[in-house]
Each structure stands twice: as C-alpha cells, then as structure tokens.
Amino acid sequence: MAALRRWFLLTGLLWVLWPAAYGAAQSLQALSAQLGTPDRQTQQNAIIALGMRSEPAALKVLAALEAGKLRVSTSGQVLIMGSDRKLRDAFSGSAVTPQGALSEPLVTNAIRRAVTLSVSQLQLRSNDLELRRAAAKVLAGGAPAEMEPAMRKTLAGERDPTVRKLLRLSLAQLDLTSEDARRRVGAVKVMNELGDPGLKPLLARLLEKKSDGSYLEPDAEVRAEAGAAVTSLERKELVFRVVRDLFYGLSLGSVLLLAALGLAITFGLMGVINMAHGEMLMLGAYSTFVVQNLFQRFAPGAIDYYLVAAVPVAFTTCLLVGMLLERTVIRFLYGRPLETLLATWGISLVLIQVVRLVFGAANVTVANPSWLSGNYELMPDVVLPYSRLATILFVAVIVAFVWYVLNRTTVGLQVRAITQNRRMARCVGIRTARVDMLTFGLGSAVAGLGGVALSQLGNVGPELGQGYIVDSFMVVVVGGVGNLFGTLYAAVGLGAINKLLEPVAGAVLGKIFVLGFIIMFIQRRPQGLFALKGRAAES
C-alpha cells in the first residue's frame, strides 16, 4: 500500500518536474515542433514546458493551437495559419512554404485543459495588464492546484487591484481545500473581505452537517469564521439587490415617464383623452429607424451619431402629426372626452395600419450606436447598461425642457392661463385655438422623443405604442391630472414598486398587483397623488 502511494507520488512529481527540466534545455522552436507529434504524452509535456517559458512567442503558439490554426511540418517548421488561410512561420512571422508533410495537432479535452493552464501561466507573467487581467479572471472561476506557485509569485509583484483581487479570490478557493486549518481560516477571511456574493454557497457548504450529524468542516474556528462571512455576505447581497432593483425601478420609471409625459400635457393640461398617444411613441421610434437607415445609406462614417440627428427629426415629425390631428379631429371634440377617446382610438388604429403597410408588420432593427452599447459595473452583480443610464439622463433633460417651456416661455404662460380660465384668457387676447394646437403638438412631440429612447431599449414594431397606453394613463391619473411633477413621482414610484415586487411575485403577477393597487388607489383618491386645490377640484 505504502509502496504504491510512494510510486504514485514519484511519478506525479516526475510528471510535474520533468517537463520543466526537459523544456529548459530545448529551444522554443524544437519544443513547439513537438506539439505536432501524435504521442499525447509528449504533446502534453511540451505544452506544460511552453507554459514555463518567458518568450511571448510561446503564448502565440499555444493560442494558435487552441484555435486549431497551428500546423507542424515533418521538417520541424512551426506554422500558424492566418485569417487569410496563408501559413506563416510562428517565430519570424514571414510567409513560408512548408517543407515535408503538414500535420495538424489534435486538440482533445485534456490538451485543451493543459493549454488553458499554460496560457494562464504565460499571461500572468506577461507585462501586458490586459492579459494578466484576463488570466486572473479565468483563474478566479476555479484554478487547478498546479497553478498555485505561479499565482503566488504573480500576486507578490502585482500592483493592479483587479488582478490582485481576482488572484486572492482564486487562491482562497484553493486554500479552502487545504489540509491546514489555519490556511482555511485565512481563506474564509479573505473571501469575507472580498465580499463577492457568488462565494456564499461555497462558504455555506462549510456549515453543513454530514448525515451522521458531524460538521463537514471539522475545525470550529473555520466554521465560526464562515458563519460570520455568510452573514456579512448576505447583508452585502441584500444591499446589491436593493441597489439593482432600485436602478431597474428607476429605469422602468423613466420609461414610464417617457410614455406618460406627453400624455400629462395633452390629458393633464388640455383634458384630451388621446388614445393615439402610444402611436406617437411608435412614430418617434420609426423616425429613429428612418434616420438610422438614411445614415447607413448616405453617411456610413457618421453612423454612430444618427441618434443625435434622430432626436430633432422625431420631435418635428410628431409635432406636425400632433398639430394636424388637433386641427382636423380633436378640435371638434373639446368638452366631449368620451367621444375624443373613441375618435383617437380610431386614429391609433389607422396609424398602426399605415405603419404596417409602409414598414411591414414585423419588428424593425434599430441598433444601439457603439457609445451606447456596453455596461457600467457599479458593484459585482450590479451591471448598468449604458442605454438605460442614457435613458434616465435623457428623460431628465426632457422633463427639464417641458418644465422650461411651460413655466418660462410665453407659450407656456398662455397654456397655463387657458388651463385655468379659458374665457378670461381669450378676453386678454390669447389666441386660444392656436395655443391649443401648439400644446397638443408639444404633447405629441414629447411622446416622439420618448419613442427615440424606447427604440434603444426594446423592439420597434407597429404595436409598440399599444403596450404603453394603459401604463401611461395609469401614471398620469395616479400622479394627479394637470400636474407635471405628480407625473414624475408617479412614474418613478410605480416603476420602483413594480421592480421590487417582481422578485417576490414574478413579473406578471407583480404587474397585476400594481394595476390592482392603482384601481384601489384611484377609488380612495380620485384626484391622484397631488390633487389640485380649489373649488374646481370637484365638479
């Protein structure tokens, strides 16, 4: 028994040590050429030996092997196939004609594992920070024990905090399996300090009991540390989750606000029930699509900035459509909100069908410009897509714009005057018909801006607006009719409630709860959150 173990130990040691001694003596060229041999053991040894070299070319060879681009000729040439399918010498980089028969090294799973290991080792020693980061990231997902010395060596000389953190994490994972209780305690402490919630199951396992009632982890100190670490990780996890939910709530709130803001103007200030409001969002999104296509066709170099151009285009398109609607239909229905509801519903059907005939019934692709794709990692597990961050910012700008128009411009003053007392406003010389047209146009145009943002977040199709109409009316009604800031609070509040309910109740049930809550809420406070004070409030 003991003899057998010694034998294993010896061969294991040989397996580790021999390639190193063997590899040091050979040239890089000869070592690489061995990758082409059909003998697995030689191949594997060569890979491990390559991982110990310091020349950058070793990394190149291994990467080529992993990608299946490495060729070795019988005359000992090591060639790499470029993307143009031409063979180049792996070391000089010059194009060469192979002499003798070419062989393509077979990449089995065992080989791939060895390559990954060697590549990580080479990368860790590299001077390139990006390569070290990549290697550390791979290793943090679970490093093999053979990597330990190399990792400790790198950690000692490493300055970059990301690489340090990842390396400590993977070393701690290795230490956790060690025989030495002190090392395990140290590992648990490191994990606690790093605070990655993904480690919780690993730590929680230490606290589990075997079937016979004894702990899986024999050492009491390790268990105590692990218990403390789990508690602190859970607390951190909760913080992350709340932050994430709040962000997504804010994001959903900003989308709701985009959809509802225009409605807050047309419904809130003018009292027009515009069921075609969702279609204004849709037109805004399609304007973005058209601008994108025009850029693709005529200015492919500036394609990244099409979104900037889409903003005024969508605004103008929807402004004009809105004013046209006001002049031709809505003007005749003032004071008859139920009829307005039906007529604008009809308009929405017509608009949907027009878009369907022009652009097709299927969804169209509106691509994110490169500066909007990607994520910002606020904390581990809290990843904020740039497009959503930009939406929140965009909404803030629109709210400021609408507030400015309504409170700091002449037209805004006239709008407010008409809202308060239409006849009096006329008496002092305000052209109410013209202001009505502009107000409705503004509401529609703001919806168009919303459409630009929505095109960056989801699908663009003819039915885009239908999905938002119920939600946006809810937001306006909850916020209180005629009150822009009420709309703001209602949108963000409903968005947050929705996202906080989602993990508890599921997405659909959460939404149903919110709708039910709103229906109950309106019955308690028919005037919304921010009721207008005064005699007019109850008519």
Binding site: G335, R336, G346, T419, S539
Partner: protein
C-alpha cells in the same frame, strides 16, 4: 297589467316589427337550414349558423353596453371582462364534459396534464355540473360588477376616469388569464370541447339549438333592457347621464341606480359570453385585449346610442363588415374600423338610427323626440368639465394653480 307593460315597451306597430324579426331569427333561419335539403337554393349554408350565433352574442353584448353607456353615460371599457367571466364559466363546464376523450385520455383537462397537475383545483370541481356553470356564468360577472361598481361609484369615479380604470381592469385580467398558473389554460385558454349536456357540438342540430338559444337570449335581453329604460327608473338613468349633480340635488342617490344597471349589464354580458363559447369552440385571454372592449363601444356608436336596437344594428353591421373585409381586403379592415371611429364621432353622433330618423323626419332637428331617449346635444362630461372646453354657458371653474 300585462297589457300596460306591453304598451309601455312599444307601440303596436313596433311590436309587429319586433315579432317579425323574432320570427325570422327563431323560425325562418332554423327551418332554412335544417328543413330545406342541402343543395337546394333556399338552403342556408351550415357554416352561417354558428356565425349568426356569434353575431347574436355580440348583439346582446352591445345592448348591455348601450344600457350603461347610451342611457347612463358610463363608458365602460371592461365589458369584455364580464363577457369573458361568463365564457370561462361555461368553458369550464364544457372542458369537464370532455371526460377522458382529450388528447391525453386523462380525467383532467388536457392543459392540466400538460402542466403536470395531479388533481383538479378546488375551484374547478363544481363546474362538473351544468346547472352550477350556468348560474356561475351569470352570477360571477354580476357579483364582480357589483363589488367593483360599488367601490367605483361610491368614490364618484365617472366619465373618462371610469373608462380608464375599467380599461386597466381589463388589462390586468388579461395578464392574469395569460398566466398558466392561474388555472384556466393560460395562453391557449379552454378549447377542444366535445359536447354540451350530452349533445355533440359538432352536429348541426346542436348548433342550430345554440343559435336559437342565443336568439332567444337577445330578444329577452332586449325586452328586459327596454323595460328598464321605459320605466321611471329609465328616466332617472337619462337624468344621471345628462346632469348627475342635479339628480343628486333632486333627492336621488345616483349610486344605487348606476349600480343596478351596471350589474344588470354585466349579467347580460356574462350570458352573452356563456352562449358565445360553445358556438365558437374556444375561450382564451385574447378576448380580453383592451381593443375588443373599445370595439363594443363603436358598435353602439355606429348603430346609434341610447336606442338599444341601434346597438343591435351596429353590432351586426360592423361584425358583418369585419367578417367580409378581413377575408376580402385584410389590409383595409383597420382603416375602415379606425375611420368609423373618427367619422361617427365627428359627423354622426346619433349613428345609423339617427340618420334613418332624420331621413324620415327631415324637418325635425331632434332626431328621437318620440320616446324621450334621444341623444342630447353633446353633454359636457362632468369629470373633465373643470378643464373647461365647455360650451360658453358652462360656468367657469375658479382659478387654480396648474402644475
């Protein structure tokens, strides 16, 4: 007494016309289909019977809508909820009556087998009985409407606010029914029915019987609504529609009256749903799309609001048009429907009935003077009157802060 009631409902001439319609619906159509041999020119094709039956269910739905919208001024966008409740109640019975003839040969409905449910949920059990399902198809919508209406009317929610929250209700209901775990077949709904009360649904006599039942339900529903609107109660309803505030000052409590018609309309809608499902063979959440609820309103508006039979005319006209156009010119249908919404509200607020009346009495501006149920000059809907695009005679609300 009985004679008095008959007089109250209709003049003898109108009774004659109504009887003629009833004869055509209940006697002539079934005979043309069943008694006339197939191939004969007078034979009514089989496929038309369920289609007509479907239309009749829509007519009942439209009449109920007219009762609450045309007469009481409540534009409900939640009628499809009551319709679907009735439909699902009946669908559950039909589902249970399949027995073990489903695809999976199981005691349980197919979709439950598919979801790997082991036993029937408790709320499905009583629906083994037709009697229970029939009562539930009327009582569930009624009860639901009563509770919802009580809460809404008591809080004085009206006008567009009521429209908006009923639409939210429909939307929430649709989302709920789309969930598989709610227990009503999720996305696919309830379908593959085999028989009702032992009669196979695939056979023509069953179809004709269902059609005739729908016809009978429409006639009874119409007479019931007619009775309501021609009674004193009906006058109060009209008053509520036109000036709810004054009704309150005159000593009436509008909540009671609204709640009554609201519940009645829900029960009728539930009945329509219960008759609709066995004839169409499926009930699924798409019935609850907000668009469908608004379409009911346009049936009433096109036919002519506040006349009951106008709603029936509108429902038949639009659904006939829809059946024809969605086949012949599918791209045009939404333009026509959308156009109807706009044109009718802008130019023909009294609908088809209004046009017919003004043709008959070209000099009379008041198109429906005879029975006191005419549409008023566009009434100012109270909820929004504060925003005051109102007629000049409307008192202006006091100045207030905006935003």
């Amino acid at each position: 007494m009985a004679r008095g009631v008959l007089r109250q409902l209709h003049t003898p001439k109108q009774w004659a016309a109504l009887s003629a319609v009833a004869l055509v619906l209940l006697v002539w159509v079934p005979i043309q289909n069943l008694a006339v041999p197939e191939g004969a020119p007078a034979h009514l094709p089989n496929y038309l019977i369920p289609l007509f039956g479907k239309f009749l269910c829509f007519v009942l739905l439209a009449i109920a809508m007219d009762l609450i919208w045309g007469y009481t001024g409540i534009l409900s966008l939640g009628q499809t909820v009551f319709f679907a409740l009735g439909g699902y109640a009946m669908g559950m019975y039909l589902m249970r009556s399949i027995g073990t003839e489903g695809v999976y040969r199981s005691e349980l409905p197919d979709f439950m087998v598919f979801l790997d449910w082991k036993e029937l949920p408790w709320f499905w059990r009583p629906f083994d009985s037709f009697g229970f399902a029939a009562v539930a198809a009327l009582a569930l919508p009624g009860l639901f409407a009563f509770v919802f209406g009580y809460l809404a009317f008591r809080s004085r929610i009206r006008g567009v606010y009521l429209s908006i929250i009923t639409q939210a209700l429909t939307y929430a209901m649709m989302l709920l029914m789309f969930r598989n775990n709610t227990g009503f077949g999720g996305n696919n709904g309830l379908t593959d029915f085999k028989r009702v009360l032992g009669y196979p649904l695939s056979e023509q006599p069953t179809k004709v019987a269902l059609y005739a039942l729908s016809g009978g339900a429409v006639l009874l529903g119409y007479l019931l609504c007619r009775y309501v609107v021609t009674s004193k109660l009906g006058r109060v309803l009209l008053a509520i529609r036109d000036q709810e505030g004054r009704v309150t000052f005159a000593g009436y409590n509008p909540v009671t009256y609204k709640l009554f018609v609201w519940t009645l309309a829900a029960v009728l809608s539930g009945l329509a749903g219960a008759l609709y499902v066995p004839q169409v063979g499926i009930i699924n959440p798409s019935e609850l799309q907000p668009a469908n609820a608004i379409e009911i309103a346009i049936w009433c508006a096109v036919g002519g609001r506040g006349t009951l039979f106008g709603a029936a005319i509108g429902a038949v006209t639009i659904n006939g048009l829809k059946s024809f156009l969605t086949n012949a010119y599918p791209d045009a249908w939404l333009f026509v429907l959308g156009g109807l919404f706009v044109v009718v509200t802008l130019f023909f607020p009294a609908g088809i009935v209004g046009i017919l009346r003004s043709l008959r009495r070209p000099n009379s501006k008041d198109s429906g003077a005879g029975d006191g149920t005419s549409l008023p000059a566009p009434a100012v809907e109270p909820a929004i009157a504060e925003v005051a695009h109102a007629a000049a005679s409307e008192p202006e609300p006091a100045a207030r802060q905006a935003s």
